[in-house]
């Protein structure tokens, strides 16, 4: 588009007054704002001594966990929906025949690469049985890359750690009832 195209609508800047054109009064106005913030209250949290106050753990997206059902088994049914939804491709599931009667499959291995994870929460959204959830634990560290591959046991242990502070987000729902007969007929 040429600069003199009539279709261009030029938006003019607001005109400055005399004090604005002289700049100096505005500079002092700005300096007072700066000085006010200089002595004002600080918002930094001194982390190791002082834990940040996470307002709503339900919204916060930290480390993953794998929920257990009432009998202490892993809730996951190895449907791969989370792995499919994951934009970072960080979930790796190996499914196996379920030893329990109420579902077909269960995850034999369930590994999340926390270094690749972008903590978007899509897995949590995708999970049909609310097995995978994001907790409000944010300070995850590791000394090696391998340490940051969280496997099923680790994810379940995260659940054990956090289940009291943060009950499963859909604790009230009953475990998925699968009408096996219909399926087989």
């Amino acid at each position: 588009m040429r600069a003199d195209d009539p279709a261009i609508r030029w938006i003019e800047e607001p005109k400055l007054g005399l004090s604005g054109k002289m700049y100096l009064p505005l500079i002092f106005q700005g300096l007072t704002t700066t000085a006010r913030h200089l002595v004002g209250p600080k918002r930094t949290v001194s982390f190791p001594e002082q834990r940040p106050n996470i307002a709503d753990p339900l919204i916060y997206r930290g480390v993953h966990r794998l929920n257990r059902d009432q009998e202490g088994r892993v809730k996951c049914v190895a449907c791969f929906l989370c792995a499919t939804a994951c934009p970072a491709h960080c979930i790796d599931i190996v499914a196996a025949e379920s030893p329990w009667p109420d579902r077909e499959k269960y995850p034999e291995h369930f590994v999340i690469d926390e270094l690749r994870c972008i903590f978007c929460g899509m897995c949590e959204e995708a999970c049909p049985v609310d097995a995978i959830e994001l907790t409000s634990l944010f300070d995850l560290t590791g000394r090696t890359r391998e340490e940051m591959f969280f496997d099923k046991e680790k994810l379940l242990s995260v659940f054990d750690q956090t289940k009291d502070a943060e009950p499963p987000k859909s604790a009230g729902l009953p475990p998925l009832q699968r009408p096996e007969e219909e399926h087989h007929s």
Binding site: A3, E12, M22, Y23, L31, H37, L38, V39
Partner: protein, 406 residues
């Protein structure tokens, strides 16, 4: 002769160590101030090494310095090696050499009679021009660093920066010229003495000069409203894009040195140097004669340093107050606003100096100063009305313009 050399050597050693340390701690202060202004706390963790004592982060400069020094001294393969090494050295050397003529106190009286002037080169009669000579040499470090990096962004940054430094040298020297016209000397310690004897700082006697000088020295030190040379956010780093390790440290320290120099100059030329009413006057303490006792000399050093510190704090606060100029605005400000203001200041001061006696007889000292203030205000208003810093440089037509102005 030998004694003179020894004294000068001691001064040089004290000054260079003091300046380098001050630069290191000012970096910390700058980071803390930046954090406070942004409602953060800033680096407050590093204290005494190997202990858990934190000391408000006072160990941070040590950690930073060690990090810079022990970093790999990496030379990219495409650079011009000699110039690449020479450029940061030259800029740091000139930044340090400026302090040869800048007084950092008045005199120290040792052992009753021997007085030591607190300038490295006390007899140098052209001190103010020396400062300008060295600050014009600083352009070399910038432009050579940009060129030697063999990188188009560095070169553009270097050109941009040297154009800025050259442009703002004029208003800087015009701001200084007002003081020189009134005091009739180029020696910085004499300028302080004049202000101390009269008891009126030049900030009050020539406010226009102060404004011009402060703004120009911000630009010369490449501090924030004018930090086009670096402009990390918008314009890739500038002339030190390709630098790392200790050479980058040299550049950064030199930049801080420029800020310290500018603060010293502002304080010495306009804020009375070591003078403070009632605190540093010998008469106020009932001391007879010319001699300055040792403790008064120390008080004067402290007053000078305190003023410099306040000005540096002002530099740091301005950094977080005012957004960066665009390059055309920068140049417009230099040539269309600062230069006429500087000339107006020189003319005004020449008039005051020429007709000082009749004017003072007619109006009194306060009247002359009031006249200066009125003149300053009028000049500023005229400048604002005639040459606004037009900020709109959008191109409205396709006609080629003759001189590249929009």
């Amino acid at each position: 002769m030998l004694e003179l050399a020894a004294i000068a050597l001691v001064k040089v050693v004290i000054l260079s160590f003091g300046l380098l340390t001050a630069a290191a701690y000012l970096v910390l202060l700058e980071r803390r101030v930046a954090a406070w202004v942004q409602d953060r706390r800033g680096p407050n963790r590093v204290g005494i090494p190997l202990t858990s004592i934190r000391l408000f982060g006072l160990g941070q400069p040590l950690a930073d310095g060690l990090k810079f020094i022990f970093k790999e001294e990496f030379t990219p393969s495409h650079v011009d090696r000699w110039m690449y090494t020479l450029a940061p050295i030259s800029i740091l050397a000139t930044a340090l050499a400026v302090f040869a003529v800048i007084p950092f106190g008045d005199v120290l009286t040792l052992g009753g009679e021997r007085t030591i002037e607190l300038v490295v080169a006390p007899g140098f009669d052209a001190g103010a021009i020396y400062v300008f000579a060295l600050s014009s040499l600083a352009v070399y470090g910038v432009i050579l660093g940009g060129w030697a990096s063999n990188n188009k962004y560095s070169l553009l940054g270097g050109l941009r920066s040297s154009a800025q430094l050259i442009a703002y040298e004029l208003p800087l020297s015009l701001g200084l010229l007002g003081v020189v016209v009134v005091t009739g000397t180029l020696r910085l310690d004499e300028v302080i003495r004049t202000q101390a004897n009269e008891g009126i700082w030049f900030a009050f006697a020539q406010p226009l000069g102060l404004i011009v000088f402060v703004i120009a020295s911000f630009a010369e030190a490449a501090r924030l409203p004018f930090d086009l040379p670096e402009a990390e956010q918008e314009l890739v780093g500038g002339y030190h894009t390709e630098y790392s390790g200790i050479r980058l440290l040299m550049y950064l320290v030199a930049e801080f040195m420029h800020m310290i120099t500018a603060s010293f100059l502002i304080v010495i030329l306009f804020l009375g140097g070591w003078h403070f009413w009632g605190l540093t006057d010998a008469a106020a303490w009932g001391i007879e004669g010319e001699a300055v006792p040792l403790w008064l000399g120390v008080v004067r050093i402290v007053v000078l340093m305190a003023k410099v510190f306040v000005v540096i704090l002002f530099f740091m606060l301005t950094r977080w107050t005012w957004p960066r100029f665009r390059f055309d605005q920068l140049m417009n400000l230099a040539w269309k606003v600062m230069l006429p203001l500087g000339i107006a200041n020189v003319v005004m001061m020449a008039v005051v100096a020429e007709f000082e006696v009749p004017l003072t007889d007619r109006l009194g000292r306060g009247g002359v100063i009031g006249l200066t203030w009125v003149g300053t205000l009028l000049t500023l208003i005229v400048a604002a009305l005639l040459v606004p810093l037009h900020s709109d440089n959008r191109r409205r037509s396709i006609e080629p313009d003759l001189f590249g102005t929009s």
